[in-house]
Symmetry: C2
Amino acid sequence: MFTQSEENYLKAIFHLQEEEEGGISTSSLSEKLNTKAASVTEMIKRLADKELVDYQKYYGVKLTDTGRNHALLIIRKHRLWEYFLVERLNFNWDEVHDVAEQLEHIKSPKLVEELDAFLGRPEYDPHGDPIPDAKGNLPEYPKKKLSQLKTGDYGICKGFNDNSSAFLQFVAKQKIGLDTTIKVINIESFDQSMTVLADKKEVLLSKTATDNIYIEN
Amino acid sequence: MFTQSEENYLKAIFHLQEEEEGGISTSSLSEKLNTKAASVTEMIKRLADKELVDYQKYYGVKLTDTGRNHALLIIRKHRLWEYFLVERLNFNWDEVHDVAEQLEHIKSPKLVEELDAFLGRPEYDPHGDPIPDAKGNLPEYPKKKLSQLKTGDYGICKGFNDNSSAFLQFVAKQKIGLDTTIKVINIESFDQSMTVLADKKEVLLSKTATDNIYIEN
DNA sequence: ATAAAGTATTAGGTTTGCCTAAATATTAAT
DNA sequence: ATTAATATTTAGGCAAACCTAATACTTTAT
């Protein structure tokens, strides 16, 4: 149906649409996918030909309904596999991403459904990200970032935006994981870096870090 | 490390080496892989450059030790996934092949080892084919074909050479499966087709069919 | 309003892996 | 031992996905 590369673009566009307003720019896709802008333009045209995205030259792309549904299927597969790797195969949560990135492209509707059933239809993956169901519906999920809190606020960690093993190992080192309670001690006004209390330890987090930690409060 | 296509060639060469003597010809690879002979020649050159095969123009290819080891790893992954699909995800044995063909290319040494452990280190896949261990050793396995039996002989089905769902569904229809006892009733001399008794039913099998059924006796 | 700076697109090139058609080598048959 | 038949390789093309360099469009700043 679609190539792996096309699927990677759909997924990247989907994730960027959750962050950015309006059309997704060539440059943000280029950055996200580690691909040169010229290559992105080329691929975007192919996706537009296949009616997976709406594309306005110089004004970025948006997923069509078909494109969005397919992106959700890839995300569903990715997160189910991550759950499988951690819960059944003893992977650590910070070493599953790259393998899941490969497994998400396996084409077999039966496999997805049976895997989901085998795992007990989990709602969240090991990073706290919600797993879309077979119809593409996402369980409700608090989309608030740690960086949005004020000094003195409390939050409970519910997931991460950056699931790279580098980032996940970093937060683990700071004793921040799923369901960790975090208190904001101080925010530096000049760079928005935050001193927080997590697991009785005070740590300093850059704005980049706090932007990538989802919380509920 | 290697591309999916390269891995498919290695696997095909490995399987053909179990059947044919000497170098594997361009045409048998071409047939096995559903690829034109010219494309095969091209790929073979690439594999020879990478020292995965020894190649003599016009006289076919043989796997090098590196090539053989890699082929065995792919086969190991293929069969472990087939086992997983049938034993854990309720797949039928005749619908796993295509999915396993995709899964065998997933690159993650940890995944293979953990999956093997999770499954209890099985020795045979659902078609009766032996699963190589982490070092590439195969459990002992009777490599005799049903077509080698004489009239009146008995054999016990231990596996199949053709694992396509078409063939597996065909043998299932004839009530032949793993461990089925088969008695040779008659062999037509002009086309080697065989009348056999399996599960108290007499059925006629072409030479093509009996060549693809492995037995022990 | 226009020039400079920043983005995006086009043009032209590469590699992988496939194809067809033409040329060449091997094998089989007289 | 030639010739005919068969198998293999070479030559030249194509599509996917990437790249760099050059060009074109947008936005920002004066």
